[in-house]
Amino acid sequence: MSAPVEVVLSADSAGQLFNCAVFDPHSGSEFLSYRGGNTSSRSLTVLNGEYILGAQLGKNFINVWEIQRKDQLQQKIVCPGIVTCLCASPDGLYVLAGIAEAIYLWEMSTGNLLAILSRHYQDVSCIRFTDDSSHFVSGGKDNLALIWNLSSVVQLDSSRTPEPCHILSRHSLPITDIHCGLMGPQARVATASLDQTVKVWEVSSGEMLLSVLFDVGIMSVTFDPCEYFLFCGGSDGNIFQVSLCSTSLSRDKTFQTDSDGNQVFKGHRNLVTCLSVSMDGTLLLSGSNDETVRMWDVQSKQCIWSINHKGHVTNAVIIPAPANMFLADSHPAVPLPRFSRHLNPSEQGDGTGSGGMCLRLGASTQHFGLKTTDFKPLKCNRQQKRTHFACF
């Protein structure tokens, strides 16, 4: 059997059978499962294709597995508080965790805690990176969503406290989910909220582009990769599909009545908490509080398969299959450093303890336009350095 291109990763709140498990997106058969503890909502993330990180529900630590060693818990990262959400950057260099009202930013090469951002007034409910890791968006129970520029957050200038580049304050109730589209800093972001709306924003300007009002609170949201459709998981178990590029009233469209149910995925009986679309935009994965994970065909809106879990589904996501996942004898390229618990800027200069060196943009060199190009060499350098140190 050839290795699948994409896999489904899901976790529930009970954790009886497994903490999280990997399924085949087409048949729903289980590939792997990772044991030990359970994972809280929106806090399961894959770091660099080599580790799985999941925040323990109601406890102040993060479980880490090496992606190929499914039975053995690699380590526990102890955090200063209960982790409410967790996200690793797509380039694998940083990890963000929402701990109560604050956002903690760790650097993966050294394990240093780079920043504690406390601009939210209430618990952070969701954090997402843009696909180029240049920005991240955080949403909280204080009805605010903040767009941050990563390079301005990590810069060495410690005299200034980092500010978000945009504050999205148009929601009137807690934000439940965020989804970042593709295209890096020019991406669009969708935010879902209990105020029964889903809003689409532009990352670069912080402008709101679209607001869709539903008759139930929305618990989860996602785009398909082309951003043709917006999928919104309601608190009544329905999944609504909003077409973002409806052609103007063309001839073939008028004959086809858009009756109710044409644009709704019906099947779940409770809050739809997670949504994810496959790479080709044909499959939609949904996880719900009715303890099932369902896979849908987007075109026909039929449920292809469903898996029963033992508790509320907390995370369900379609990810590209990591290379190491099915190779039992592989090793991560970089050992996971010890995560520091305290912000300690003085330690950052020497970098002897962790065997890495910290490169960061100074305040003066920071330029919006340069940012994406700057990061590429930085990443290469760092990875070279890492592999170098790993050889020792």
Binding site: S13, S40, S41, L57, G58, T84, R119, Y121, Q122, K141, D142, S169, S172, L173, P174, P185, R188, L194, D195, Q196, K199, V200, E202, S204, S205, G206, E207, M208, L209, L210, S211, V212, L213, F214, D215, V216, G217, M219, E227, S235, D236, F240, V242, S243, L244, C245, S246, S248, L249, D258, S259, N262, Q263, R269, N270, L271, N289, H312, F368, G369
Partner: protein, 935 residues
């Protein structure tokens, strides 16, 4: 012969004409008794083009050519004529705009005063008629002539040039502000002249210009400067306002930003229903496009087109600095003259004459405008820093010396000559745009000075302390002396307060100033605009600055203000919905951010806010109601009383059904039973309270109301009988439907709870305890119970007998009611849906219903009803499987009916129906049996 003669005589008889007799008419006379018609032309035909297009026989070309005449009277006459002609024929203005404008503009510099005045009048008339976009091609000419007039050697022409400027500013501010490079220099030259370079006076740091004093003007030098400065002020105002608005949300500190965020992108708003039915077509990509908005923070390549060339020069800080470097020394000189010219004695230096005050006010306004000319925030900061470095010492020395200025009471009755002077001054003053209040002057002074204080540098704070202290004292006293302030002054004062608090970063200052504002806020009988301005200040101040500055976050006054908001909301009631909405705009974010003071106060007042009778949640408009429901999300705890209130709010029908469902969902989400909020240690809604809230909402009637119903006998009460064991209280259609929507939501919420068996057990107990003993039951309660029970029923759980009997009573009464309902199909459907769901889902219920028919006890009038019910049940094939198990029941009924009626002649329609249904059912049943026998 004789006869011949006679005959001849007869032939040639001579007519004797006699005097006095009428002459007989000749036979061949022409009859002139006819009339002829004619076309009368009283005047000659005129030329087609002339006529109304002429003024005193002169057409427009003649008039224009007369403008070149040497005689000024003729020129003036021609101007007047042009005006009359054009006002009679407005269509001609556009036709001849270029000719007229160029000729008129040439007369700005005419040496005769009356001609110039007439030219200005004509210009004013023309500008009213031509919109700005049509004047664009002629504007260079106009402004060239204006410049010519402004720099003219004759002073009278200069003065009149300012009138022209007024007219143009009034109608074409945008066009005029593009000419700022030329005009600003012109302004300078009006009041000053270039110093000779040789004199080398630059060492004093003053600019290259010196004030001019001319003695032969009709007005004093001060008045002249005042008029010039007034124009300069309004010109700068135009420049500021007409700037292309690409700077977006420049967060300057001022009232302008209070308007909140205004996107340059118009966002698409659709609701789900519209989208589903194809009304709300969404084109997000059309909207934002592949190109990022100009609003974007990214400048990926140098933007060559930005600013459209128009205000390019004035945008940069350097140009403003260059101009200000010349202007500010002049302004300071004028200030010194105005301050010192009147009163040399120092003791009353703060008292000023009205004219000096107007002049000073104008100076300060211009300084303020200069700062605002540059649109970008970073450049504003550069400008502020530059002003501070260059002029702080001067400003401090001159402006702050006698700071709180007052109006000098001129002794009017001293001398007659004096009186004459005053009259002159008054005349000048009216020209200068009215007298200026001392308060306005002082407030503007504060505004100008405060912009010089920089934020955040500790070493600067010490040097600034003295003059900032003075300003602080002034502001505090002005705000807290109990006087009423106009909203304009108040806005300016609040702006100063904001800036001072942000820059000074001291808790003492913050509390001191906020206290003063709070005193103002607490005054009674404030005008609504003033009240909402203060409210707006506090709320924006809280929302925007709270997080960034710890000294603001710790302010006691702000905390006290926030805590007072819920009380005010309750007190305000329904008197002023706008103000209530404004209050809610602050309460909502503050509650969402978990502000402790506010939440405590909110918790304390929650019961009165959410009171079902006169609480805000029922009396305010829909938008505010919605916000109030949303605020519930952040309320720390829901005690039982509050839940009781909320339950009644849902059911009294004073909030819409959709809002009530929102409220129910909120309570559901806040409860730990819902399983959404994961990591909260505290429990906002206790499980007991949660369930009793849902049960109360489900029934829709409190226990007292139900008790009261037992004793009433109203018309709407349907009496109980064998076929309707419960006496049904029919509610209005509206109430029934409202309740129906709510029941749907309650069922949905209860449905999603974790353990269904336990949940059903609780509901069953509640029904048995509260409802089973009742004799009179409202129909909506019956329907709700019948709907709720089958939805919550777990397959493994057997309902108790008491509940089943009650359900069968309800069901029968409802079926009975169903037959009497004609008025609303909607209600009938709802009732039938509930009955049907209960009968088909709850085990043993159908049998109980059928058993309770007791056919033998029925009187004859009730038989048709029974038959109708039976046929209704028989018609629904889903019920058949259960029905056929009770076929014996039907058999007895059949026999009974046959016994009664087969003998009679008349076969009633209902009996025919019943028999038909019965035979169909029986046949289907037999067919099934037959099939089963075969296989």
């Amino acid at each position: 012969m004789k006869a011949k003669k006679q005959k001849r005589q007869g032939d040639f008889q001579k007519v004797q004409l006699k005097v006095g007799k009428k002459k007989p008419k000749a036979d061949n006379a022409t009859n002139v008794n006819f009339r002829s018609k004619a076309i009368h032309l009283p005047e000659q035909l005129k030329h087609v083009d002339s006529g109304p297009t002429k003024h005193r026989q002169l057409d427009i070309m003649d008039l224009l050519s007369k403008l070149h005449h040497i005689n000024s009277n003729i020129k003036q006459g021609a101007l007047v004529g042009l005006r009359e002609l054009l006002s009679a024929q407005p269509s001609m203005i556009e036709l001849h705009a270029s000719a007229v404008l160029s000729e008129v503009a040439a007369l700005f510099t005419d040496k005769d005063g009356s001609v110039r005045a007439a030219a200005v009048r004509l210009l004013r008339f023309i500008t009213q008629c031509i919109p700005a976009e049509r004047v664009v091609p002629f504007f260079p000419l106009l402004s060239a002539h204006l410049t010519c007039a402004m720099t003219h050697i004759s002073e009278a022409i200069q003065e009149d040039a300012l009138r022209v400027l007024d007219v143009l500013l009034e109608h074409y501010p945008g066009l005029l502000s593009q000419r700022h490079t030329v005009l600003l220099t012109n302004f300078l030259e009006l009041i000053s002249q270039k110093r000779k370079a040789a004199t080398g006076q630059d060492k004093s740091g003053k600019g290259g210009f010196a004030l001019t004093i001319s003695t032969n003007r009709s007005v004093t030098a001060q008045q002249w400067r005042l008029t010039v400065l007034l124009r300069l002020g309004s010109f700068l105002q135009a420049v500021v306002e007409e700037r292309p608005l690409d700077e977006g949300v420049t967060s300057s500190i001022g009232l302008g930003m209070w308007a909140g965020e205004k996107g340059s992108v118009t966002s698409v708003d659709v609701s789900w229903e519209e989208h589903v039915f194809g009304k709300g077509r969404i084109q997000v990509f059309e909207n934002s496009g592949a190109v990022p908005t100009p609003h974007s923070a990214y400048r990926l390549r140098p933007d060559s087109k930005a600013g459209a060339g128009m205000n390019k020069e004035l945008c940069s800080a350097e140009t403003v600095q260059g101009f200000a470097g010349t202007l500010v020394p002049l302004l300071l000189e004028i200030w010194v003259e105005a301050a010192g010219g009147d009163h040399v004695q120092t003791d009353s230096g703060h008292l000023l004459s009205a004219e000096a005050m107007a002049l000073m006010f104008q100076i300060l306004t211009i300084l303020q405008l200069l700062r605002r000319v540059s649109p970008h925030r970073d450049q504003k900061d550069i400008l502020d820093a530059w002003f501070r470095n260059s002029y702080l010492a001067d400003f401090k020395h001159h402006f702050m010396k006698n700071f709180p200025y007052g109006l000098l009471e001129v002794a009017r009755h001293k001398k007659k000559a004096d009186g004459k002077r005053i009259r002159q001054q008054v005349a000048a003053g009216t020209v200068a745009g009215g007298n200026v209040e001392p308060l306005a002057l002082n407030v503007t002074l504060c505004q100008v000075m405060v912009t010089l204080s920089l934020r955040g540098q500790d070493h600067v704070e010490a040097e600034d302390a003295d003059w900032l202290g003075t300003i602080r004292v002034f502001i505090r006293e002005t705000l807290s002396n109990g006087g009423k302030l106009s909203s304009k002054h108040l806005a300016a004062l609040l702006e100063v307060v904001w800036r001072m608090i942000v820059t000074q970063r001291s808790r003492v200052v913050t509390d001191d100033l906020l206290q003063a504002v709070y005193v103002q806020y607490q005054q009674r009988n404030l005008a609504v605009s003033v009240r909402s301005l203060l409210l707006c200040f506090f709320s924006q101040f809280y929302i925007q600055e709270h997080q960034n500055h710890p000294h603001i976050a710790r302010s006691r006054i702000l905390a006290r203000w926030l805590a007072s908001l819920p009380v005010q909301l309750v007190q305000l009631g329904s008197r002023n919905p706008q103000l209530s909405a404004q209050l809610l705009e602050t309460i909502h974010p503050a509650a969402a951010r978990g502000n402790k003071d506010l939440l405590q106060s909110l918790q304390k007042n929650a019961c009165s806010i959410y009171d079902p009778q006169e609480g805000c949640v029922v009396v305010l408009p829909v938008e505010s109601q919605k916000r109030l429901v949303q605020i519930l999300h952040s309320l720390p705890a829901f005690p039982a009383e509050l839940l009781a209130c909320l339950s009644q709010v849902c059911n009294t029908g004073r909030v819409s059904a959709s809002l009530a469902t929102m409220l129910i969902r909120t309570i559901h989400l806040r409860s730990p039973l819902c399983g959404w909020s994961s990591s909260s240690q505290d429990v906002p809604v206790k499980d007991v309270d949660y369930l009793s809230f849902f049960f109360t909402t489900l029934t829709g009637f409190s226990s007292e109301m139900l008790q009261a119903l037992q004793d009433t006998d109203e018309d709407s009460l349907l009496p109980s009988s064998i076929l309707s064991p419960l006496s049904v209280f029919a509610t209005t259609l509206e109430q029934f439907l409202h309740h129906w929507d709510i029941v749907e939501e309650v069922c949905h919420c209860l449905d999603t709870l974790g353990s269904r068996a336990q949940c059903f057990d609780v509901i069953q107990n509640a029904i048995i305890k509260n409802l089973c003993g009742l004799v009179v039951v409202p129909d909506c309660v019956c329907a709700a119970i019948l709907r709720c029970v089958p939805r919550l029923l777990d397959v493994n759980f057997l309902p108790s007998d008491t509940l089943l009997h009650f359900l069968s009573d309800c069901c029968l009464s409802m079926l009975n009611l169903l037959l009497q309902l004609e008025q609303s199909a909607h209600k009938r459907d709802a009732v039938w849906e509930a009955c049907f769901a209960a009968l088909s889902t709850v085990p043993r219920l159908l049998r109980l219903v059928l058993q309770s028919f007791r056919v033998c006890d029925l009187c004859e009038e009730e038989l048709p009803v029974l038959a109708q019910i039976l046929s209704l049940l028989l018609q629904h094939t889903q019920l058949h499987l259960t029905v056929h198990t009770h076929i014996w029941l039907l058999m007895t009924a059949h026999i009974h009916f046959s016994f009664h009626f087969y003998g009679g002649e008349t076969r009633e329609q209902w009996l025919t129906d019943l028999l038909y249904c019965y035979s169909v059912t029986l046949f289907g049943h037999r067919a099934n049996m037959g099939m089963r026998d075969i296989y």
